[in-house]
């Protein structure tokens, strides 16, 4: 079912354009991540969905309902703020049942709902705590519970993990994703952390310079980034300057390689970037002859961290990273002239 849709939305702050002609369409129940560096307009877009900012032009709809111009408090949304924005003058239970109280629900209804939500976010029995007595993780859970109290149509989270430490972040990412799937609620998360987006999202919207650069599932974006910016932002990528030598071939560092991925609108003779992901690139010992689809280079660094081994190879002035499992270990050392195999299926080309 079509859920959240954003049509031709532009937002100007004075002379600055924060969001430029964004068009997006999602299904109900999906988890969407707005991913991008700071200042790319992702938070502004989220705030416009919430109603905290009004679009300069364009429309925001949810299912068959036009939200544009509807005041914040009349939209059925739940939002978690970067600072969590818990009310310091209320205790945990009162924070969670705030929305219920505003709607005039009875005290016992409020208390029941608060208990239920606290169970849901795994904080049973904390109703009477003061906000100041909570840890960062607990605060986040309370903020989530509070936002969900009225079963909102859309659940919005603005950099929800940024206030947490690294370990807790990973736990909460998984937990939040599970919760979202359980509730089947359309959710939009703003983040600048690609792992977070990859972990949780059904759809990732990569943004840069006030515009949407690419929309797709995490794997689509990982495998086929539209440009080098997206490729660099999502995961690590090896980029080598190349020239199209045929419909599915490139000329790089004096050798011809076959490209398995889509070469799309490029034609022979175009300057392109050959992109590979480190885990799909293999390094072969200098003595290995006849390694197909490979370039040569010099090993500059080897990092063995047990589960994986990372090899940095200098290929004619461009660094290529290969991440291998121990079973593929080619037994090389720094200074070795090695063959770097880039299987055709692992290769794709991007505009320079």
């Amino acid at each position: 079912m079509p859920g959240l849709s954003i049509k031709n939305v532009t937002k100007n702050f004075g002379t600055v354009t924060a969001v430029k002609d964004v068009n997006l369409q999602f299904n109900t129940g999906e988890m969407i991540c707005f991913l991008g560096p700071s200042g790319c307009g992702k938070t502004t877009l989220l705030r416009m969905i919430a109603g905290l900012d009004d679009p300069t032009s364009g429309a925001i709809r949810f299912e068959d309902q036009d939200l544009t111009g509807v005041p914040v408090h009349q939209r059925n949304i739940g939002m978690v703020f970067q600072s969590f924005a818990l009310f310091p003058h209320l205790n945990v239970g009162e924070n969670i049942s705030y929305a219920m109280r505003i709607r005039g629900h009875s005290r016992s209804e409020c208390e029941d709902r608060a208990r239920q939500l606290l169970d849901m976010v795994h904080l049973p029995g904390l109703e009477d705590r003061k906000i100041s007595q909570l840890s960062g993780g607990q605060r986040q859970r309370v903020a989530i519970a509070r936002a969900l109290a009225l079963n909102p149509q859309v659940f919005l989270l603005d950099e929800p993990m940024s206030a947490l430490d690294a370990n807790l972040r990973e736990v909460m990412q998984i937990e939040l994703r599970k919760l979202q799937q359980e509730l089947g609620i359309t959710t939009v998360v703003v983040t600048h952390d690609q792992t977070e987006a990859m972990t949780m999202a059904d759809q990732i919207v990569v943004m840069g310079k006030a515009q949407v650069l690419q929309t797709g599932t995490p794997m689509e974006i990982y495998k086929t980034p539209v440009d080098k910016f997206v490729a660099g932002f999502i995961g690590t990528s090896n980029l080598l300057p190349a020239k199209m030598s045929g419909p599915d071939g490139v000329h790089v560092n004096g050798v011809d390689l076959t490209v398995g991925g889509n070469t799309g609108h490029f034609s022979q003779g175009d300057d392109v970037l050959l992109m590979t992901r480190p885990e799909e690139v293999f390094v072969h010992h200098p003595s290995d002859m006849n390694v197909a689809n490979s370039v040569t280079g010099t090993v500059t660094f080897v990092r063995d961290i047990g589960a994986t081994i990372e090899i940095l190879v200098d290929c004619a002035g461009h660094e290529v990273i290969s991440v291998l499992t121990p079973k593929d270990w080619p037994d090389v050392k720094v200074g070795d002239q090695v063959h770097v195999e880039m299987p055709a299926a692992a290769c794709s080309v991007l505009a320079v």
Binding site: A50, G51, L52, P71, V72, H73, Q74, R75, I77, G78, M79, F81, Q82, S83, A85, L86, F87, P88, H89, L90, Y98, A99, I102, R103, R146, A147, A149, L150, L156
Partner: protein, 279 residues
């Protein structure tokens, strides 16, 4: 380490001496004077004589003390009622506008109580006052004097204290985390509802301390009640001035001053205790 600790204390000595010299010693003198006993030659001698406090303990002076407290509490409430919404809106203005307003308000503080009292006297007079405007627009038929009256005292004292209230509330309101307001809005509260359920409760400490400060400031007002009020609106401070300056009864004036001090200390204590528990 020893020397650095010592040098730290040395730095504190001038201010401590100043506070001692200008605040503690005069207070001790007032305290001593308030329990001194009159001598035959018309002066007073150091002793422990409670007659001046006994003189206070008549219904007239107690009633005056209660009236003063009540009036000042009313002023504090009215002043905050006016200053708070204004300051709240002010913090939402662009920074440059805020600065201009704050400078303007700060400048208001340079107007003395005397100046304000006499200005209001003119403003509320029959011949030159606002009543003439009412006549002109046809609300009333004949101009009348609005002073001396309780309303005039209240109006001028509120006028006097609003700038203080704004400056006392401004830091708290400008520091208020705007995301709390946004959170409340996303949870279904209208702007007005948010104002009362989030903005006001979160800034309660500033409201309380602002209120207490205005209360204490108003307790010290002597010109406005005298110039704009009838004798029934004169506060304890006016009576202290009368005793000290016109009757030259320093011991009794001191005793009344001690009572005033105890009164404000009690109010401050009660307010902090009461509000501390609830917050």
């Amino acid at each position: 380490m020893q020397t650095s600790a010592l040098s730290r204390y040395i730095g504190l000595i001038p201010s401590s001496v100043m506070i001692g010299a200008f605040f503690v010693i005069p207070f001790v003198l007032i305290l001593l004077t308030s329990v001194s006993t009159p001598t035959d030659d018309g002066g007073y001698a150091t002793s422990f004589d409670l007659q001046h406090f006994e003189r206070f303990l008549t219904w007239f002076y107690i009633e005056r003390a209660l009236f003063s407290a009540g009036l000042c509490a009313l002023i504090a409430v009215l002043s905050l009622l006016i200053a708070y919404p204004f300051t709240y809106f002010l913090t939402n203005f662009p920074p440059r506008t805020q600065t201009y307003w704050l400078i303007y308000i700060l400048a208001q503080l340079s107007l003395s109580e005397v100046l304000i009292a006499f200005s209001w006297q003119i403003l509320l007079s029959r011949t030159a006052g606002v009543a003439n405007i009412l006549v002109w627009i046809g609300v009333i038929e004949k101009s009348f004097a609005m002073t001396p009256s309780a309303g005039a005292v209240v109006a001028a004292l509120v006028y006097l204290t609003v700038p203080f209230s704004v400056l006392l509330l401004f830091p708290a309101l400008s520091r208020l985390d705007k995301s709390l307001i946004e959170a409340s809005r996303t949870l279904g509260a209208s702007p007005l509802r948010t104002f009362f359920t989030v903005v006001v409760p979160v800034t309660r400490p500033a409201i309380i301390s602002g209120g207490v400060t205005v209360f204490v400031l108003t307790l010290g007002a002597i010109i406005v009640p005298q110039v704009l009020g009838k004798p029934e609106h004169w506060t304890l401070s006016v009576l202290i001035t009368d005793q000290a300056i016109f009757n030259f009864n320093m011991p009794f004036a001191s005793a009344l001053a001690v009572v005033l001090l105890v009164l404000s200390a009690t109010v401050i204590w009660l307010v902090t205790k009461f509000s501390g528990k609830k917050a």
